[in-house]
């Protein structure tokens, strides 16, 4: 590739889940045009895009919310930002602002929706490999959005800026070129 990086692909906030597949297809076509990644990589990009956007539709009401895809040499970054209260979770060990930087812990977003995280800052953490349910089907999660992003991306993190009330989800995906 002899292009100038980074290349930005801003995305409008979707109005309906029925438009997300088309939105992801448009992004993937642009990535193909820029010769980014192989087919397996593009499949994972679609998963991350759709799940991040679906999460928007479920939880975010900020009119200034936005998504941005950034192509850099060797990697793709999918970023979602919005203003509002920080992400809500329960945890026996800690809460915002974190003070045990570097620690790994388990947080929950609801019944059977547990995730392992690593604390990166007072209001910043990275999702680690999802907590697996046991063999009991009754304990299976019914929410898979964050799990899918965590598994499909190489790194998936969350941060919050209290001053600006800015939430940011960031998925980093290494392309194979």
């Amino acid at each position: 590739m002899s292009e100038h990086f980074p290349i930005y692909i801003p995305l409008g906030v979707p109005e309906s889940a029925d438009k997300l597949y088309e939105l992801s297809s448009n992004v993937i076509q642009k990535l193909r045009n820029h010769k980014v990644g192989n087919e397996k990589f593009l499949k994972n990009v679609r998963l991350v895009l759709i799940e991040m956007a679906t999460n928007f539709l479920k939880h975010v009401t900020d009119a200034n919310a936005s998504m941005l895809v950034t192509i850099e040499p060797g990697q793709l970054i999918i970023c979602k930002t919005y203003t509002g209260s920080p992400i809500k979770f329960t945890c026996d060990e800690a809460c915002f602002p974190f003070n045990n930087i570097g620690a790994e812990m388990r947080i929950s977003f609801g019944k059977n929706n547990d995730h392992k995280i690593r604390i990166d800052g007072q209001y910043r953490f990275t999702f680690l490999h999802p907590v697996e349910a046991g063999p009991d089907i009754d304990l299976l999660a019914e929410n898979y959005g964050l799990t899918i992003i965590t598994l499909a991306a190489d790194r998936f993190s969350y941060s919050y800026e209290p001053g600006q009330m800015k939430n940011e989800f960031l998925a980093v995906m290494r392309s194979s070129d």
Partner: protein
């Protein structure tokens, strides 16, 4: 959601007619299948032969349906998953939880 339902012997074959199985359809789909289960249908095949894409919301609905069936000693088989959907089940390891077959004809032999 647009569903085609066929009763074959004692098995209800539900074919999803929509191309996208997503957030806007997951809840309605779950409720419609719950109604069938509560009406006595406990042997189900769900065919995805017309479905291009399935998201996490729909995945959650399928898990809820499975949980609903198990106390009734029911059975659920998923069929005709394209590569993207199969990939999603494998990524989340739900391919180890659901019975997945390549066609409704093959699924019928499981009952």
């Amino acid at each position: 959601m647009n569903l085609k339902k066929e009763k074959i012997n004692e098995v209800l074959l539900i074919t999803i007619q929509d191309r996208e199985a997503n957030l806007s359809k997951a809840e309605g789909f779950k409720e419609e299948v719950f109604q069938e289960i509560h009406g006595g249908e406990t042997r189900l095949i769900i065919s995805f032969k017309n479905v291009t894409y399935l998201d996490s919301s729909f995945l959650g609905a399928l898990v809820a349906i499975l949980k609903n069936l198990l106390p009734l000693k029911g059975q659920l088989v998923l069929t005709d998953l394209n590569d993207d959907i199969q990939n999603l089940f494998e990524l989340t390891r739900l391919d180890k939880v659901f019975m997945i077959r390549n066609s409704s004809e093959n699924a019928m032999t499981e009952f």
